[in-house]
């Protein structure tokens, strides 16, 4: 398969990739079609050729980001039977995915702070799916008496929201730590450590009896 000069798929992918970076860095409004085109080394008109308009591109970007994480979480979560293991898998997969795709958290947070105003149906449903996943794990655990008093929505934000914030605020936390030495902003915590910590704390929140921790393969 030789590299072609005119490869629609490659061009589309380039656009999505660069748009994702720029949208997550600067937000929807502050990202211009010119910015994206320049970043891609592609003519501006191509954006409209493939995605009709800026909103269409944005939807495509979000769709890509959300469906990718959804399948990733679903796939890896299949491995275990216990709700606790599923919970751990959920947290770790989300963390590792975000580490590799650092654009998602900021896109997501931005969308969640807009809430309702301009959220396209497709994105809304993708976001619901991810929540449904955790919700089911929690419900299962509660039925089996493993988890206590789990309000899924709040737990969801305590896990996912916190991880997102830890990622988007990384530069900010670093700067704050340098300015105020006595402040512990977890500025050199790795995502793995963070996921670990959150998992530990979540177990405490759900009052899980601490026996053998059943990690995934």
């Amino acid at each position: 398969m030789p590299k072609q000069k005119r490869d629609a798929e490659a061009t589309k992918a380039k656009i999505i990739k660069n748009a994702m970076i720029l949208f997550s860095q600067n937000g929807y409004d502050a990202t211009t079609a010119d910015d994206i085109a320049t970043a891609c080394g592609v003519n501006k008109a191509m954006i409209f050729y493939y995605y009709k308009n800026k909103a269409g591109l944005y939807e495509a970007v979000m769709s890509e980001a959300l469906s990718a994480i959804h399948t990733e979480v679903i796939t890896s979560e299949k491995c275990c039977v216990s709700p606790l293991a599923d919970l751990e898998a959920f947290i770790r997969t989300y963390a590792s995915y975000c580490e590799q795709n650092p654009y998602l958290p900021s896109l997501l947070l931005r969308e969640l702070s807009n809430s309702g105003t301009h959220l396209p149906e497709m994105m809304f449903s993708s976001m619901r799916q991810l929540f449904t996943l955790l919700s089911e794990i929690l419900t299962a655990g509660q039925k089996q008496g493993i988890f206590q008093n789990a309000q899924p929505m709040i737990i969801y934000f305590m896990i996912v929201g916190t991880m997102n914030l830890m990622i988007t605020t990384k530069p900010l936390r670093l700067k704050a730590a340098q300015l105020q030495e006595e402040l512990d902003t977890c500025s050199d915590c790795s995502m793995e450590e963070i996921a670990d910590y959150i998992f530990t704390k979540t177990k405490l929140m759900l009052e899980v009896k601490n026996e053998t921790s059943t990690t995934c393969a």
Copy 2:
């Protein structure tokens, strides 16, 4: 002090108030000077007369929002001596403040998802102050052996981030619940209930021995 037709302070206040609403609803870029002027019933040029430029107005808005909550939290927190009571006060005050000023959470979340790129010094420091407050409570509690293993930054986001998200996503959660009945999105939880729940879970996270809960006056 009679109501004047030309009352600088009143005009400035009107501008700040409406700008806060609009910035939080639509974000910085999507809010135009025209929108704000129309909402205030004030001439557009006044915005620039009083605040130099859009960025200046935005800073003023954020400053107002952040300093208010900071003093509120500091004041109410003074009342007690125990770190646990301080923690409770912190959570409840933040919750009740946000309920009365529903624009803050969305402004804050948006700022946090931008991280670092265009954050003015003043806002950065205000946000740090709020975090420092909780950080000190946690450190104190840990020194007294009341709290275990408290990573302040992560705990901070689990509390503040989650409350913010619960507020900004309110309409979204309602819509999701209507669409998918089996989903529990906490759609009619009050802020007080949410604060309660978060406080309870935070205690579990920090492995607080469950004796007498010492509430503030």
Copy 3:
């Protein structure tokens, strides 16, 4: 009344005037906002400031043109009592108006060749009013037995349409005559002569008994 630097009415008038010229010369689509602004010596944004968008400006232009001729015709027509005199007044007034406002005919013809596709209500009604005027004259004449067999719509186009065409095709007719000497394209007929001829022929069409021609004062 000193000439002001910032005179809204003057600016609006300049825009309308130049837009009328350009729209009639090049048509709606081929006339750009830049063209108009440059012609006016005004900033392009002013067009949108005063007329919201290009279509709005176009409507304003047509409205101006149509209402002007309507009042002109109505006013001058009042002078006489006989339908024949009214008919003559109608023809002569229309002719002289078009001579002074040579943009109208081309705007009108263009609109009539689009028919129905994008005609704003306002213009439609203005055009109807002008036709109604002639229609009433003809009906009156017919009732009095002065005019015979007058289909108002067809007569209307034979008069108004022809005058419009004679005006818009003036340069074309001149060029044709120069190219083909034996061709009589009426290339140096004045509008007055044309109106005369049309009036004479219209009388023949309506089988008016040729006694004393009752001209207006």
Copy 4:
């Protein structure tokens, strides 16, 4: 000659046909190459392959439209000897041709309201030919003493212009009649009736002695 997948003539014809429809409906500028290609089910690039550019296509369309009517009129006109019969043939042929090719009138009117600015030589000459035809009939009739005082250009527009306008304004006239019942806009006159009426009135205009009307075969 079997139907080929790659049939240059067929493709060219399809393009001309659809371009004619679209140009006459929306005008030159408002018709895009994409529109035409879509309407034809042909690739956009083919338009440029066959007609070099949009202006070239437009010329081809107009050429097609004009040459067709010219031959039609010339042919049918040959049948008779008397100028009056020729006149009648001219009117009737033009009317029936327009009825079958309803795109011509609007294309023509549009071109005439532009006058001179961007008219290609070829179209200019085609239009001249049609006029020459009528002009000769009138001159002949005048020499034979059958027609009186015929200014060919004005008569031409009174006939051809009026028929064109009656066709392009058909939807408009219908709408006006529905809105204002007392208005007679000839909204359900057939083209034949219109041609009849115009012929009758033209005879009056030219002061033709009313004996035996010599109709063509």
